[in-house]
């Protein structure tokens, strides 16, 4: 493929995207006049784009919204369920965390009390008779 053909294919791509500049368009037009292969490719590509553009829009059935909503209401799906579950999970975690901290503090206090009590006993030991 010649360099000018490569540029023409590139320009045809821009044309398909509706993004073909004026200068590029003129160069493509000039090239297509003397290159049969590119002219044929351009014609086919224009036909493809035209074919896609000719497809009319289809409209959903009138009762689609009602059908969707009825289907959702009848099913077990309930909105916000996940959010509520997450919220519940967060609270459970918080309560468990608080309980953990409480137990930790209680254990720490017990240890401190035990250590202090032991030191106190040791301090009093020489003073005891015998």
């Amino acid at each position: 493929m010649e360099g000018s053909c490569v540029r023409a294919v590139d320009a045809i791509d821009d044309l398909c995207e509706g993004d073909l500049g004026r200068v590029k368009g003129l160069l493509l037009e000039r090239h297509a006049k003397r290159c049969g292969r590119c002219a044929s490719y351009l014609n086919r590509m224009e036909a493809v784009i035209d074919g896609l553009a000719r497809v009319g829009r289809v409209y959903p059935p009138d009762d689609l919204v009602e059908a969707v909503m009825a289907c959702l209401v009848s099913s077990d799906t309930s909105i916000g369920e996940g959010t509520m579950a997450r919220e519940r999970g967060r609270w459970n975690l918080l309560v468990a965390g608080a309980a953990g901290v409480g137990v930790g503090v209680a254990v720490a206090l017990a240890i401190v009390r035990w250590v202090i009590g032991r030191e106190h006993d040791e301090a009093l030991a020489p003073m005891s008779p015998g």
Binding site: V48, V55, G56, V58, P60, V68, I79, G82
Partner: protein
């Protein structure tokens, strides 16, 4: 996936999603009303069957509601719902094994695209000036028919790009978000899809 700056429309959708999460079913109904056209169109253009498109649209909204808590409200809802819809259609096509049980029917009657019409097929709207010339009509119909037959043969993801970009007018950046690929990949798929469609017209145009 990077967060994007939401448009006014996107912010409105995010508000509806937040209301939805608080249990407001009417907010979800608003979203269904807003996106039913596009979701149904994408499904119909992907599978080519009105009844199946209707089922797929219902499936899409049911999945959206089911996963509403996982949706990132800083991302556009449109891309998210298109993603669910496109994936549902692709899964359906894979289940169907790409075998068409319904022939493509070129419907020329003006009422073919009307709601409630259950005929299968492609709706073609010809400009009045061309429609008056029988020769032009037959040539155009043949081309459109060939393009649609070729579209049916495209790999699902290529077909999705063509439907989203050329029929729904979605940008490649958004198609990238919908299909979960970079923008340039979506653009490349679009380019390849057009070339494949173009090949189907060899010897005709």
């Amino acid at each position: 996936m990077a967060n994007t700056r939401l448009s006014r429309d996107g912010r409105e959708d995010a508000r509806l999603v937040k209301r939805c999460r608080q249990g407001d079913m009417s907010a979800f109904e608003d979203l269904v009303c807003k996106y039913q056209d596009s979701v149904y169109n994408i499904a119909f253009r992907m599978v080519g069957d009105r009844e199946q498109a209707r089922d797929l649209a219902q499936e899409t909204f049911a999945k959206a509601l089911e996963g509403i808590d996982t949706f990132n409200t800083r991302m556009p809802f449109r891309a998210w719902i298109y993603r669910i819809g496109t994936n549902a259609s692709i899964d359906h096509l894979r289940r169907r094994g790409r075998c068409r049980d319904v022939p493509v029917e070129i419907a020329m009657a003006a009422g073919t695209g009307a709601p409630g019409d259950n005929r299968y097929g492609v709706v073609i709207e010809l400009p009045a000036s061309e429609a008056e010339i029988p020769e032009n009509v037959s040539v155009s119909n043949e081309i459109v028919s060939l393009v649609w037959e070729a579209l049916e043969e495209l790999p699902e993801k290529y077909r999705a790009v063509v439907v989203l970009h050329h029929i729904e007018g979605v940008s490649y950046a958004e198609i990238g978000r919908v299909l979960g690929v970079p923008r340039n990949t979506a653009k490349t798929w679009g380019h390849r899809a057009r070339n494949m469609l173009c090949e189907s017209l060899e010897g005709v145009v």
